[in-house]
């Protein structure tokens, strides 16, 4: 039996533990401080401290969130923050061209992995990985570090889509082109009728963003890696790409491309199409389709936007490259001063159904109200940081660019809000056209060490060479340039990178 002294000792120990437990429990009740960086210079939220949506998020996750707007080059700012030990808890979306950099952060141990308490706090993030197997490529040593900034699950075409004007097609008595021949014919007709300066796309960054349908017609995606020769090879080296580039060159040689296209960025190209200067554009899809239509109506009510399904070149294949439906990743700071568990709670809430709805339409009763089962927007919405027009996505800036893009269904919801049946039917049709023919790709998110070194060089080589190829004077010249490109690419580090990537991808896609 215990002596009295021993009992006293046990009692004291128990009392102390109880006090400590109670103390920690009490401390936990205070909100956790979470620092979020955002690159979104949106003026729509004048004062983040008073933002009602942010307040809702804080309430739901028991956190005290500080939003810091950063400018300049994001990765540099983050690198600086890492070096000076001021990394935020939530690092905003870093684009796919920087996966090498984000990967480095993870292997350097400054990011928090979604494991243990962090994983427990963010079941919705884990669920995304289960729903979309492509995301497994993002894992490093089997661990999740990156939260995809998504608008949908699975893969779907997104870029390099061909837009035309339905009203012009009707005017010329044409049906929407199915083949490149018909498409070129449409462009020619527009030109002959003085309706056109030529097709536009964002050429200031090179031609590769506009190649999706062109290489798709020859069985190659316009990004990532493809299965070939018992392994994986880079898309740009495939014979089909050569064919696609020649097709593209043909379009330029015949004078069907706007002469100023190589100076154009996305915005200028879009403006040329919307304002009727050009009768066709190679551009993004999804919500952009509706927003283009809305803007066109302001210019001329007769204009009608039409998205073509991927075109056929008679080579037995067609399709737009289908890519994972997210752009870039968000990540959690994992340095000593960070609180990844609380940050994970915030992310988890923002990607949950409830959080998504909150950032899409705001608080019920304040920003929207439900009438006959339908959500009706209220004026307060615009005052609290939601864009007045559809803008990017129609959602609160906290969602856009920060931790999640806005799911397509909510983008569509705000796009179609208040629109009639015709518009809805048309939009459904466009959405179906976008995905009618697809070209799969692999390994967009995979990073081997050599590839992460070589990728920037590769991007530059592709941008320069492909642009020169499609602009070249003769077909022979184009072919010679392409062969030179393949040689350069392999010689300057591509061969090693490709070998490494092939091995990695073979493991994932046996």
């Amino acid at each position: 039996m215990l002596t009295r002294k021993q009992l006293q000792f046990v009692f004291v120990v128990l009392a102390l533990s109880a006090m400590i437990l109670a103390g920690t429990a009490f401390a936990k009740q205070g909100p956790d401080k979470v620092v979020i960086w955002t690159t979104n210079p949106s003026e729509t939220v004048a004062d983040w401290d008073k933002d009602p949506i942010l307040k809702e998020v804080e309430k739901a996750t028991n956190t005290d969130i500080e939003v810091v707007v950063v400018s300049g080059t994001l990765t540099d700012q983050i690198n600086a923050a890492i070096a000076s030990g001021t990394l935020p808890d939530i690092i905003p979306v870093v684009g796919p061209d920087q996966y090498g950099v984000t990967r480095r952060w993870a292997t350097d141990g400054v990011l928090a992995a979604y494991e243990g308490d962090v994983a427990a706090a963010a079941p919705n993030v884990i669920k995304q990985y289960e729903m979309n197997p492509t995301l497994n490529e993002l894992k490093i040593d089997g661990k999740i570090y990156f939260q995809p900034v998504f608008w949908g699950h699975g893969d779907y075409p997104n870029g390099g889509l061909i837009h035309v004007r339905k009203d012009l097609l009707d005017k010329y008595g044409m049906t929407p082109p199915e083949t490149f021949g018909e498409y070129f014919n449409y462009l020619k007709t527009c030109k002959d009728n003085g309706d056109d300066m030529g097709v536009v796309f964002a050429g200031s960054g090179g031609v590769q963003g506009a190649l999706s349908a062109f290489v798709g017609a020859y069985g190659v995606p316009s990004a990532g890696w493809v299965k070939a020769n018992d392994g994986f090879e880079y898309w740009a080296l495939q014979p089909g790409v050569k064919q696609g580039l020649l097709k593209f060159r043909e379009m330029i040689a015949e004078g069907l491309v706007h002469p100023g296209v190589w100076e154009m960025n996305d915005d200028v190209a879009r403006t040329a199409f919307v304002s009727g200067t050009s009768c066709s554009a190679i551009f993004w899809g999804g919500g952009h389709i509706g927003r283009i239509q809305n803007d066109m109506e302001l210019v001329n009510p007769d204009f009608q936007e039409w998205l073509l399904p991927a075109l056929d070149a008679g080579a037995g294949s067609r399709g737009y490259t289908s890519e994972p439906m997210f752009w870039g990743t968000g990540q959690l700071g994992g340095m000593r001063h960070n609180n990844p568990v609380a940050a994970a709670r915030v992310i988890n809430f923002l990607v949950s159904e409830e959080g998504v709805k909150l950032t899409a339409v705001g608080v019920e009763g304040v920003h929207n109200t439900v009438k006959d089962g339908e959500i009706v927007m209220l004026d307060q919405r615009a005052k609290d940081g939601f864009p007045t027009e559809a803008g990017h996505t129609g959602a609160h800036p906290l969602a856009t660019h920060l931790v999640s893009w806005v799911p397509q269904e909510w983008q569509n919801w705000s796009l179609l809000y208040g629109k009639g049946k015709d518009y809805r039917d048309w939009f459904d049709q466009m959405w179906a056209n976008q995905g009618m023919y697809q070209m799969p790709t692999y390994g967009l998110l995979t990073m081997s060490p050599e590839w992460s070194y070589f990728q920037p060089t590769s991007n530059e080589l592709v941008a320069q060479a492909f642009t020169a190829i499609v602009k070249s004077g003769t077909e022979e010249e184009a072919l010679a340039l392409y062969d030179q490109f393949v040689k350069d690419w392999l010689a300057s580090g591509g061969a090693q990178a490709q070998a490494e990537m092939s091995q990695l991808l073979m493991k994932v896609y046996k």
């Binding site: 003026e43 707007v69 950063v70 400018s71 540099d76 960025n265 915005d267 007045t388 027009e389 803008g391």
Partner: protein
């Protein structure tokens, strides 16, 4: 005398006529881009699309200036530019003058070493990344002062100041020192009041640098403090601001950008003629021997 004055005159007139013609062409080539930008900024876009060629302006509107000035971010950026130019120019002139004066004193020990220190960075630099890391290491990153402190002095301006003071009538300085004035007192009471040409030269050189500088601020300074050229460049190369403006208002990028550029140029056009006399004088001061 083989030539009569009259013949010389005639020959000269013909040659001169050619010279004047060439210079007139040079003048137009030099000035036309400014002129074009200014008239693009005030010409209604409707006029622009009406005619295929625009060598001279037609129509007049201040709409685009209004658009620019109604954008809070741009106005803030111009305010930043003005503040930065004012603070940066004044502080830099003072530091440059003081250093230039001290290093111009022939009897100062260590003068040659200090001079040499200023020569090397004219060609050798650590490069972009180490510079960036240095700014970060001293804690200036993302602050307004990142645009001021690192550029307080530069070798070229220092040499201008130094040679200006080396030219200064030395007897005056020596006399003051012999009379028991301190070095600083001499500078303040005798040198400073007579440094006007140098001040004007430096003001124009440093001021235009501060007003125009865009590359480093775009990297080193947080968005709230970014000066106008940074924003102008991002309007031209990215779609960021145009997107933001696009919500609700229709804008014509060409006219809008011209208006932003015009607002950048106009202050220079106003100030420049007043300071030009001093500038040329200052450059000559730096160049004319002894």
């Amino acid at each position: 005398m083989s030539r009569s004055p009259r013949r010389t005159m005639g020959k000269l007139t013909l040659a001169k006529f050619a010279i004047y013609c060439i210079l007139l062409v040079v003048f137009m080539l030099a000035f036309y881009p400014f002129f074009y930008t200014l008239f693009m900024a005030v010409m209604p876009y409707s006029e622009y699309v009406k005619k295929p060629v625009h060598v001279l302006p037609s129509g007049f509107t201040l709409d685009y200036f209004e658009q620019v000035l109604s954008n809070a971010r741009l106005v803030r950026a111009f305010a930043n530019s003005a503040l930065r130019t004012f603070v940066g120019t004044i502080s830099s002139i003072i530091v440059t003058m003081l250093t230039g004066y001290a290093l111009s004193r022939k009897h100062l020990r260590g003068r040659r070493v200090m001079n040499f220190l200023f020569v090397v960075p004219m060609w050798v630099s650590g490069g972009m990344i180490p510079y960036y890391l240095t700014i970060r290491a001293v804690g200036l990153l993302n602050s307004f002062w990142a645009m001021i402190i690192p550029v307080l002095i530069n070798s070229f301006n220092m040499f201008i100041a130094r040679s200006y003071y080396a030219d200064y009538p030395q007897e005056v300085i020596e006399a003051a020192l012999v009379d028991g004035a301190s070095q600083f007192g001499t500078f303040w009471r005798i040198i400073w009041p007579t440094s006007k040409p140098l001040f004007a030269t430096l003001a124009l050189l440093i001021g235009s640098f501060h007003w125009n500088d865009f590359f480093w601020p775009s990297i080193l300074v947080s968005s709230e403090w970014q000066p106008a050229p940074v924003l102008l460049n991002s309007i031209m190369t990215n779609r960021t601001l145009l997107f933001g403006l696009g919500q609700g208002a229709r804008i014509e990028p060409q006219s809008f950008i011209s208006a932003v550029a015009a607002i950048q140029i106009i202050p220079l056009l106003i100030i420049y003629p007043f300071l030009q006399r001093h500038l040329v004088k200052g450059i000559m001061l730096g160049s004319v021997k002894g």
